[in-house]
């Protein structure tokens, strides 16, 4: 009888704990699945705060390339220093301080530029260069494979133009489309 009471009590405690944990996790995942944080590229001013204001030591914000509007320029102002010595992949000519942009020859005279995300710190230096002179195909986005989806996003709090807001988790990225501009 005593052993039965002990095991009965143990089972009840385990069941309560398990149920509580399950309910907590479900509630958390339900909230997270509902909305996620994202940057509106039309509002972003490339101030650089995304690199330092995220709670993650390596920010969840990364530069992304929107190929639809890229000019595939030989002289890409998001890739090259403003006054490069030559238009080649020499480190001294590259704008990105971490070398996170990959330049690939497509056909004369077009080049494709893509982001090596593990190297990108989200400083927006390339975004500013591309937006200032080019079409702005480089822009910042919060990558959801890294973002913790905090209740209060510390970058959103620090953003000087309120470019970061919650968006539906079913459409977690905001690209530079004309619809987005409206």
């Amino acid at each position: 009888m005593k052993r039965r009471v002990f095991f009965g009590g143990l089972a009840r405690v385990a069941a309560v704990l398990g149920l509580g944990g399950l309910a907590g996790r479900l509630a958390q995942s339900a909230q997270a699945a509902h909305t996620v944080w994202q940057i509106d590229p039309w509002k972003c001013t490339s101030c650089g705060k995304c690199a330092t204001e995220c709670v993650l030591e390596l920010s969840a914000v990364k530069c992304v390339q929107f190929y639809d509007i890229c000019g595939y320029c030989d002289f890409c102002t998001g890739y090259f220093e403003p006054q490069p010595n030559k238009l080649n992949t020499g480190a001294e000519n590259q704008l990105c301080p971490t070398g996170a942009i990959v330049r690939k020859f497509i056909e004369d005279p077009y080049y494709e530029y893509s982001i090596n995300e593990p190297l990108c710190v989200g400083c927006a230096k390339c975004v500013k260069g591309c937006t200032l002179f080019g079409n702005g195909s480089f822009h910042l986005q919060i990558r959801h494979d890294r973002c913790l989806n905090c209740n209060e996003c510390s970058i959103a709090k620090a953003c000087p133009v309120q470019a970061i807001s919650r968006v539906p988790a079913g459409k977690p990225y905001l690209f530079k489309t004309l619809e987005g501009r409206k």
Binding site: P97, C123, K125
Partner: protein, 347 residues
């Protein structure tokens, strides 16, 4: 202490240990928590992470050959194009209209259009050519539609229009080529598309800024922004010459693709307008840098909305620049004491 109490305490402790173990096991099964730090404990990014072209925004005051002489409010919400015609009539397009202003700045007439105009040219006998996204239309001075060209298709994005005799030329940024139309508005030829084997350098047009005009020299002058050049072609599309080079300094064309727009002064010199580093500059007829009409600091009020100015010139050599952010025409007149002309101009 009774036997019952001892057993209950033991049972309680055992249950607690088990539960703690269970929770610990559950937590250990979760993903490893990423490294986090409070943002306030971080150092700000150093200069290597900052895009800075401010040194190129400043210009030597000695290079500024023009001064702003006034502004003309067009009243347009979305101004898109301008041209100067005979008698210095000023044609400004936007908001589905072309507004015509006299030399004194007084409104003369308004042509109502069916769509948003992207380029305008003043032709002979008061006729006005207007380019839309995929075609152009010609109106008489009273606003009557005289001609509507055939469409260049869904990919077309016309950005400039010019007239030479009966022929009409348009710059198509969408297809990256120049198209020639006959007097009936039918396509009579096209050239400049990269790699089409016509022997031309090919137009590189990364963004919808692709301007052209016809000159008194009988040539068609076309901006090739991806090559940072202004190039001359015969009217049948043969490349003749080009000038310009990429550079952030005042002598060159900045960024990926410039000039965004250009015009010519009555004496044949060129006036170019750049985007990014917003500046309007003068080059002589051979493409040698002469000086600036206005620099970035004169032309940009708010860094977040960098304008792209369309430019035109009147018979007095004044430069008229359409400010897309205000809808005003900014009028720049030569300063009283212009520096001595360059050797190439004296020839």
């Amino acid at each position: 202490m009774s036997e019952k109490q001892k057993l209950n305490r033991r049972g309680f402790l055992n249950a607690g240990l088990l539960a703690t173990g269970g929770v610990a096991g559950w937590l250990s099964g979760c993903d490893q928590a990423p490294q986090t730090t409070a943002p306030k404990d971080r150092k700000p990014l150093d200069k290597r992470f900052t895009y800075d072209v401010s040194e190129y925004e400043r210009v030597d005051p000695a290079l500024l050959l023009y001064a702003e002489a006034g502004q003309l409010a067009t009243g347009l919400q979305t101004p898109s194009c301008l041209a100067v015609g005979a008698g210095d009539l000023l044609y400004v397009g936007g908001d589905q209209v072309i507004k015509i202003f006299g030399k004194d700045g007084q409104p003369q007439a308004t042509l109502t259009l069916g769509d948003h105009p992207l380029a305008v040219v003043a032709a002979e006998q008061g006729r006005v050519g207007v380019a839309f996204l995929d075609h152009f239309e010609v109106f008489d001075s009273a606003g009557k539609l005289l001609l509507k060209s055939e469409s260049l298709g869904a990919k077309a994005h016309l950005t400039a229009i010019a007239v030479a005799g009966e022929a009409v030329f348009v710059a198509d940024a969408g297809n990256r080529e120049v198209v020639r139309f006959d007097a009936q508005g039918k396509v009579a030829g096209r050239f400049g598309k990269f790699g089409n084997g016509d022997g031309n350098p090919g137009f590189l047009v990364p963004s919808p800024y692709f301007h052209l005009l016809t000159g008194a020299d009988g040539l068609l002058w076309v901006a090739n922004p991806g090559r940072h050049q202004v190039q001359a072609y015969t009217l049948d599309g043969k490349f003749e010459l080009g000038w310009g080079q990429p550079a952030m300094c005042a002598e060159g064309f900045c960024g990926c693709c410039n000039p965004a727009h250009f015009t010519r002064l009555p004496d044949g010199r060129f006036v170019t307008s750049e985007k990014g580093l917003v500046r309007i500059k003068i080059y002589d007829a051979k493409g040698k840098f002469v000086g600036l009409v206005a620099g970035h600091t004169q032309l940009v009020k708010h860094e977040q909305t960098l304008p792209v100015y369309r430019v035109a010139c009147d018979s007095a050599g004044r430069v008229l620049a359409l400010d897309p952010t205000t809808g005003n025409i900014r009028i720049f007149a030569p300063k009283a004491e212009e520096p001595p002309k360059t050797q190439s101009q004296q020839k």
